[in-house]
Amino acid sequence: MQKLPLDLYPREMKRITSEEVKASNFSVGKEFADYISSTLGPQSAQKAIVSSDSNYYTISSDGKTILQRFDLVEFKAKHPVAQLMVELAKSTDDEVGDGTTSSVILAGELLRHAEKLIDLGLHPTIVANGFRNATDKAIELMEKLAKPVDTDEMLLKVARTSLDTKYISPLPEHKEGSGSLASTVVSAIHIVADEAGRANPDDVHIVKKSGGNIFDTTVFSGYIIEKEMLHPSMPKSQKKARIAVIDTPLMVKRYDGLFTENSQVSVKASGFSQYRSQKSSENDMLMKMTQKIIDVGANVIISRKLIDERLGKQLADKGVIAIQAIPTREDLSMLAGACGAKIVSDLGMISSEHLGYADNVWEERYPDHSVFTHILVTNEKNATILLRGGIAHAISDVNRAVHDALHTTANAFNGKVLLGGGATEMYIAEELRRYALSIKSKKQLAINAFADALEIIPKTLAKNSGQDVISVITDLRMEHSKGKVSFGYDAIGKVITDTSKGGIIESLVTKRQIYKGASETSRLIILSDDIIYGDVMEQRIEDKVDGK
């Protein structure tokens, strides 16, 4: 056959089908989920992430951290499906603050099952519709199953289930009891809970300080500023403090107004005597500004902007504590909220009602010579968790664990809880299979596949803790068929137990978001039939494939 002027129709078109694009999508999705799956659960592996220039590294078992730091130079991560997976992890974290790994693993498993169905000859649209149906049904089921949290003990279990997936204390006495991280998290939640019984995890301020031991981590009612006082001779502590939080510099030179760095106003001194009088009048001006604050009864002044050095000694003499340069406006707002103060930027109109109250304000010195100022407030809804620990990397990992646990616990506190350890998944899978039988159309197969995919959670838990996956799943199925719906896999004890007694509890909100996110992302990938690459990208991939 003679070649056409544009040789694309006869040969290339036949060879390249959308099936091949789909195969590539599915394989990348699955591979991605497999990669991350070893970090699920209490007995999970850690991953070390090293930046390409080897200057920076992180060790973590937190799914989101791994995915975000995932070096995107790799071909696989440049693949659009990989990018979708990273986005899924990010959005799950933004929304509920936990459950990133589970959502990615579930999405990968859904893709695995979808691929099988499409190979059987099902149209992708039907698979996607079936998954949507199954998700709705699963969420309906889990909402029915969920129980409200009534006791502190239960909250403690929720916090521990979340913490266990990222950090396990070597000593059993630190796992439970009053000094444990879980109880720290729970008490923080109790402090920030309002009268209506809702807690916002963002109200909890986490401060990291290396040194000491993880078990020295404390929860503190109030706020900790990572700053020193302005002058060393200021009182080291101030009981019954009245705090003025200001957002304006206490200086003669200002950021705006006429006395700025490059202003048109210049003050010129013609001789030494004039210079001195000028100095003293500057001093007077400064003092006048400050006097207004002191007059309304404040004995602690905290400013986001700078405070003139000359004021330090004078304030110290009057027994007033001053702290300058709080880093960000969020910090300032949080601090003001913590002590019930109103932020003032016009000193001329300050009054006593703008002041906040604290039971105690004091400085604490740490062995590495850094100084933090603690503000103890008992009557406001703000908590600070002071994380301690040996090395910086350990603390950052614990920080992530505590952050996730705070969100999950708050979600549980505000809403309902479900059993963990795969018990809920097994129950929903069982019910979904039954539900599938009531559907006449081809969607039945997709719903069944969704049910099978859910079992990946207990499977992965079993695999990561070194157990035989098949026997764990068969045993679990057997228990569930007997109607023991609370049975799940305890990855720490490595046994199948009644999770309601063992205390493996997760929050409903988190789980719902995991199902929704995973199903949405997998549907998007199932329904994609083409990847359109740019010139450069295409060339690069070809080189990669050829092994150049």
Binding site: L6, R15, V21, S345, D529, I532, G534
Partner: protein, 547 residues
């Protein structure tokens, strides 16, 4: 990894080969036709509510996933002139009607495919094009006859259905009626840009809402009130501070005057703030900075204030939605310059502060606040809502609608076939081909929904004998065809006529091309120029030496 290559890429690769040759006559037409068919077939799978997604990834721009055919085709970087022509036409249609681009391209592809066969049979391309034009004219005539007028009390209901059809099943009744409401708010203003989109990750798409006002990406300074009901808004252009660039005079202050000068400054600021209070405003929006001291004074008086608005687009939108006028300077502030809003509030949504300004008395601009899981999904929803807005706007401008789901196309096909027989010239064949090509819409819809294409089209043809509103519509009882008009799947007439005429235009341009002349590539041109320059310099030197 052979799978990563696909039809578009192969298209692009082979188009580079034309650079080196000049094609004329049959070869050129063949080349153009093959290219356009490949391109048009590529977007086929995105048509309809159960269309497929396409992932687009390009070195120079962000990765995108979409099932909006127009975005796919306008986003392509192609080299072949025929392909570029189609991309440009798609852009033009997208700008003009904003909806129905995919069906235009799909129809054009099928028209070209059938024309190819006719030309192969010995028909002259000009005759084919003439026939197509005749057919399109007749089709538009028939469509206008069949169209149903939207009027009276039912019009909002009908428009909601139009919106719902265009949303491709991504939104429910709530969103559809909000789309209609948004277009109505613009009050006949054709500039649909005043329906703006803001989005935030998190929650679900069902939580997407129409804000009859504006959303600013900004935050209130720490001292300000975070919420103001029954807001009176003033918008100030100049910075509210004393330091000014561009003043001629310096002020010299002696040390004794320093404090009085300082107080004087405060006094000026206080006067400014008093001026704001006198005008009755309780929300001050300054496009530039506000002095810290002035901020404090505003806070004391309980006035909510915002400063440093990053984009002027926000300000324009804000002025339209609240009715405020931008005032250059506070000294000129008058009560009639103030805008109104029921509520101004700062909300923190997924780690980001947004200022909501809602419920003006007579808003002329509005904002869709889209919520969805991930940024890609948000972008996709935004495109969907945008095309629904255009669709509704089309239906308001030209208040006639047609049954969707391929129903009108199948009906037109049936009538055109009858019309074709009445034509005695060679154009008859082309009209016949046009009629058959129209059925591609219904076929593609069926294919994308996972139905049997042959079964569906045969069924449709048979049932169109008695009912002209039968189209592809998957009912709750798993039936595959049904009365689309009753099911609420309707399209504006304007979008359909645009489809018919647009597709004919595209096929005309492609079919009548009989030569591709390629200029030399830019690189080789540069090379030539350089060589010329060098040789010139050499000659100059030689001349100098000779002198």
């Amino acid at each position: 990894m052979a799978s990563s290559r696909n039809r578009f890429n192969s298209l692009r690769r082979s188009t580079t080969s034309i650079a080196k040759r000049r094609l004329i006559g049959e070869d050129a037409r063949e080349s153009c036709i093959t290219t356009s068919i490949t391109l048009c077939d590529g977007v086929k799978s995105t048509l309809g509510p159960s269309g497929m997604y396409k992932m687009m990834t390009e070195e120079a721009r962000h990765f995108d996933i979409t099932k909006d055919g127009a975005s796919v085709i306008t986003g392509l970087i192609v080299k072949h002139p025929a392909a570029r022509l189609i991309v440009e036409t798609a852009k033009a249609i997208e700008d003009e009607t904003g909806d129905g681009t995919t069906s235009t391209i799909v129809l054009a592809g099928d028209l070209i495919k059938r024309a190819d066969r006719l030309i192969g049979d010995g028909l002259h391309p000009v005759v084919v094009v003439e026939g197509y034009k005749l057919a399109a004219r007749k089709a538009i005539e028939i469509a206008s006859e069949l169209a149903i007028k939207i009027e009276g009390d039912d019009s909002d209901n009908m428009l909601t259905k139009v919106a719902k059809t265009s949303l491709k099943g991504c939104g429910g009744d709530k969103l559809s009626s909000q789309v209609v409401r948004a277009v109505r708010l613009l009050d006949g203003d054709k500039d649909l840009d005043y329906v703006s989109f803001e989005a935030s990750e998190g929650q679900e798409f069902e939580d997407t809402d129409l804000i009859e006002g504006s959303i600013l990406h900004n935050w209130t300074p720490p001292g300000s009130v975070k919420r103001m009901e029954d807001a009176k808004i003033c918008v100030i252009l100049n910075p509210i501070k004393l330091e000014r660039a561009g003043y001629l005079s310096d002020i010299n202050v002696s040390s004794s005057d320093m404090e009085s000068h300082y107080n004087k400054e405060e006094e000026i600021l206080r006067e400014l703030v008093d001026k704001v209070r006198e005008s009755g405003a309780n929300v001050l929006i300054s496009i530039q900075d506000i002095d810290v001291r002035a901020q404090g004074m505003l806070a004391m008086h309980g006035i909510m204030y915002l400063h440093k608005i990053s984009k002027f687009d926000y300000v324009r939108h804000l002025c339209l939605s609240t009715g405020a006028n931008v005032v250059p300077n506070i000294w000129n502030l008058k009560p009639e310059d103030l805008g109104e809003a029921r509520l101004v509030e700062e909300r923190k949504i997924s780690e980001e502060e947004l200022i909501f300004i809602e419920g003006g008395s007579n808003p002329k601009a509005c904002t869709f606040f889209i919520r969805a899981g991930t940024p890609k999904v948000i972008k996709e929803h935004k495109r969907n809502i945008n095309s629904a807005i255009h669709s509704v706007s089309n239906a308001i401008i030209d208040p006639y609608v047609l049954p969707g789901g391929g129903a009108i196309e199948v009906e037109l096909a049936a009538r055109l076939k009858k019309y074709a027989i009445s034509i005695e010239t060679k154009e008859q064949l082309a009209i016949m081909a046009f009629a058959e090509a129209l059925e591609v819409i219904a076929k593609t819809l069926a294919q994308n929904s996972g139905l049997d294409v042959i079964d569906t089209i045969v069924d449709l043809r048979a049932r169109h004998q008695s009912d002209k509103n039968i189209g592809v519509c998957i009912g709750e009882d798993e039936s595959i065809v049904g009365n689309t008009l009753a099911a609420g799947i309707i399209d504006p007439l304007r979008v359909r006529t645009q489809m018919l005429s647009g597709a004919v235009e595209v096929s005309e341009l492609i079919l009548l091309a009989d030569g591709i002349l390629q200029d030399k590539l830019r690189d080789s041109k540069e090379e030539e120029r350089k060589q010329k320059k060098v040789s010139n310099e050499k000659r100059m030197e030689e001349l100098k030496e000779m002198m």
